[in-house]
């Protein structure tokens, strides 16, 4: 899980072009959306692509996105439970 969390943080920073953000800056339980990292609706859609591209998980219901991407921990948990790659 540690390795996944670390990898996830790096991927998110890269894919979402989060300038000036380092993996150690991201708290595992902090909200990713809203005030947290300030991610928006386009970022949420890009994370859906990340799920499929890197982990083979196709999100059938994009509405579940807010729940899954709530924090790094919820994100990592979802991946480890559903990973296909």
């Amino acid at each position: 899980m540690e390795a996944l969390i670390s990898e996830l943080k790096e991927e998110i920073i890269k894919v979402l072009n989060l300038e000036g953000v380092k993996p150690e800056d991201i708290d595992n339980d902090a909200p990713l959306f809203g005030d947290g990292l300030g991610l928006d609706s386009i970022d949420a859609l890009e994370l859906i692509v990340l799920l499929e591209k890197n982990y083979g998980i196709k999100l059938e219901d994009p509405g579940k996105g807010r729940e899954i991407f709530g924090s790094i921990n919820t994100f990592a948990k979802y991946i480890s439970e559903n990973q296909k790659k």
């Binding site: 979402l16 072009n17 300038e19 386009i42 890009e46 692509v49 591209k53």
Partner: protein, 207 residues
């Protein structure tokens, strides 16, 4: 009505100029994207959304920032009497080509929404309006080369026919080999640079 160019800004890969005078130099970089980022740093800007943008809106954001700084419209106008009329030759082709890469290979087919959103040239206007809270008339025109006649006609009519009192207008071109921005702030006041076709062509040519 006496339209004039209150201020203008030019941005090229190696320099930024205001009213024909060099503001800053930019060191040579390995890519156009890196040149835009270095320009951002040299200007001392702090706007994290910049890093999510494609090259074209990056360029326009820098140009608008330099243009509006130290004017009564900075940092935000919060008004719809400011119009934005931008033009270029390549539309959003640089972003288009990047997006195309994400759908070319059926075995690696992952269309990217954050790339797709920039495949419209007017997103560039959107980014400027968001940053400077501009609600006014806006349009994006495409032409093979800088077209002073059309820009002049359009901007002139906006001042005549709408509530426009200020207009951010010019040329913001980004392609695979280079970029150039020539952005003007047009106002309904007398000043040294009359807003007419001859002046437009002269200033563009000598940027």
């Amino acid at each position: 009505m006496e339209l004039s160019i209150q201020k203008y800004c030019t941005i090229l890969p190696l320099e930024v100029g205001i009213n024909g005078h060099r503001l800053i130099d930019v060191e040579v970089q390995e890519s156009l994207e890196k040149s835009l980022v270095q320009t951002y740093r040299n200007l001392g800007l702090e706007y994290l959304k910049f890093f999510k943008m494609d090259n074209l809106p990056k360029l326009a954001t820098l140009a608008a920032e330099c243009l509006l700084k130290d004017t009564e419209l900075y940092p935000k106008t919060d008004n719809d009497n400011v119009a934005v009329v931008l033009s270029n030759a390549s539309s959003s082709l640089v972003a288009d080509a990047k997006y195309q890469q994400t759908i070319n290979d059926p075995g690696n087919y992952f269309p990217s929404p954050s790339l797709f959103v920039y495949t419209l040239p007017n997103i560039t206007i959107g980014e400027i309006c968001i940053k400077h809270k501009i609600y006014g008339e806006n349009i994006f025109l495409v032409s093979q080369s800088f077209n002073a006649e059309t820009l002049h006609l359009h901007v002139n009519e906006l001042f005549e026919k709408t509530n426009t009192r200020f207009c951010i207008t010019g040329w913001v071109e980004c392609n695979e080999t280079t970029y150039e921005a020539f952005l003007m702030l047009v106002v309904n006041e007398k000043s040294d640079n009359i807003f007419d076709i001859k002046t437009l062509e002269h200033l563009y040519k000598n940027k």
